[in-house]
């Protein structure tokens, strides 16, 4: 479980996040929505400890994140529209590097299993630079999940995926939820939210403008519109 308490973050001189209070329980999926530049990616980066927070605190399983940083990071999975893959490496080489980083046991077996899950096993020895965007995104799913994270941070994860890819991601996320993974997802496509999320927060100019446990597309659209119009 992750808890953020009064988190603040400045980038350069600008405050990008202000007074962020939130909580994601195990097996729960929290969606974050907001206009461009609202600070959604920054919020995820703060949760991933890429950015140090300027004030406030962050807890994981009841303890300060920064006191157990390595263990926390080992449990972190990150999927974004950037896929973090080395173009000159083959899928196997990419996944091998990442599994070494995360100390995955039974590395070769795991890689093989994941390549089959994301349906790229036949392309396993071809450099990633020859892949289409969607194929890279699929591989990036394998990259993010192969060390069995217990916290998943998703930044517009559906970008570039075809219908099958979207279904695959939903299926994987559902499985992760059953495995009690805490999920935070940033997305601009509200139709994806109701299928998977338990809770939505609206981020606006670095602040949480509203929270809702109702995740139906229509409801979110209405709320989003009133919030953006209001401010």
């Amino acid at each position: 479980m992750i808890v953020l308490h009064n988190v603040q973050k400045k980038l350069g001189m600008r405050p990008v996040l202000r007074h962020i209070h939130m909580e994601v329980k195990k097996g729960e999926c929290l969606s974050i929505v907001g206009p461009n530049g609202a600070g959604k990616t920054t919020l995820l980066k703060v949760c991933a400890c890429i950015h140090q927070i300027d004030a406030g605190s962050m807890y994981w399983n009841g303890q300060d994140v920064y006191k157990q940083l390595t263990e926390y990071k080992r449990n972190l999975g990150w999927i974004s529209h950037h896929h973090f893959l080395y173009e000159n490496f083959t899928p196997v080489e990419n996944l091998r590097f990442y599994s070494e980083l995360y100390g995955v046991k039974n590395c070769e077996e795991t890689i093989k299993r994941w390549l089959k899950i994301v349906d790229l096993y036949v392309f396993k020895d071809i450099p990633v630079r020859t892949f289409s965007k969607g194929m890279k995104q699929r591989l990036s799913l394998a990259r993010a999940l192969l060390h069995e994270p217990s916290i998943l941070l998703l930044d517009e994860p559906f970008t570039g995926l075809d219908q099958d890819g979207v279904q695959l991601l939903f299926h994987l996320l559902q499985q992760e939820k059953e495995k009690q993974t805490a999920i935070m997802m940033v997305t601009h496509d509200f139709s994806h939210i109701e299928k998977i999320s338990n809770k939505v927060i609206f981020l606006h100019k670095g602040e949480i403008a509203a929270e809702s446990v109702q995740t139906e597309e229509k409801h979110i659209k209405e709320m989003y519109k009133t919030l953006v119009d209001e401010r």
């Binding site: 972190l76 173009e87 000159n88 980083l101």
Partner: protein, 220 residues
């Protein structure tokens, strides 16, 4: 300092270079072009060779070094792989040292190819103090890689080029001086040792400073 993490990064860097071969090709072609230009611009005698070779060696090293350092970070930015590394459970200093060691090895290997090639093509006969020359090169390349890789980690590219000059010039001056003494004035070997000591001190100081500062530089 986590040796296992450092080795993972170094291994990946070297494997990337092995697949891409960009640095090795660049330096070979660059060195050959320079040798050709030099041999047509001067009437080269053994005396003249002794004068120009130290500078030549260090110029080739600077060019390849700068390219190598720049590339070792810029290819990480391509698909935001750097974020992938920063999210992973490894220390920022391990990423930095891993890359610095890889850059050192790449520079070292390219020099191992280019310097003998240079000696052969110029018909430059030099046999004394080869081991000392080797030590000077290793110490010089190590310091150069430490500082160059550190500067490349700064996200502001203009700053990289601005800081490179003042930060590496003491090392390069000392390197060129020691090489010159080795090639030209063999009887002043003790002078060479003061330059060498200075280079070793430079390496130690900058390694410590960069190691401490990297947490504030990488990814910020």
């Amino acid at each position: 300092m986590n040796i296992k993490q450092i080795w993972m990064i170094t291994k990946k860097e070297l494997y990337y270079e092995y697949k891409e071969k960009q640095n090795v090709m660049f330096i070979l072609v660059f060195a050959l072009l320079m040798i050709t230009t030099y041999s047509f611009s001067f009437t080269i005698t053994q005396d003249l060779l002794k004068q120009i070779t130290p500078g030549f060696i260090w110029i080739v090293t600077i060019f390849t070094g700068v390219m190598c350092f720049e590339r070792s970070i810029s290819y990480e930015l391509h698909n935001d792989c750097l974020t992938g590394l920063l999210v992973a459970p490894i220390e920022k200093s391990a990423i930095y040292i891993g890359k610095a060691i890889a850059n050192f090895l790449i520079l070292f290997c390219t020099n191992v190819i280019v310097i003998p090639l240079l000696f052969i093509l110029f018909d430059f006969r030099y046999y004394q103090h080869l081991s000392l020359f080797f030590v000077v090169m290793v110490v010089g390349l190590f310091g150069f890689s430490i500082v160059g890789t550190f500067l490349a980690c700064i996200s502001n590219k203009v700053l990289f080029y601005i800081l490179l000059l003042p930060m590496v010039s003491p090392l390069l001056i000392a390197g060129a001086q020691s090489t010159k003494i080795l090639f030209l004035t063999e009887n002043q070997i003790h002078d060479m040792f003061s330059w060498l000591k200075m280079m070793i001190a430079y390496d130690c100081i900058f390694f410590t400073v960069c190691y401490w500062l990297i947490d504030f530089v990488l990814g910020e």
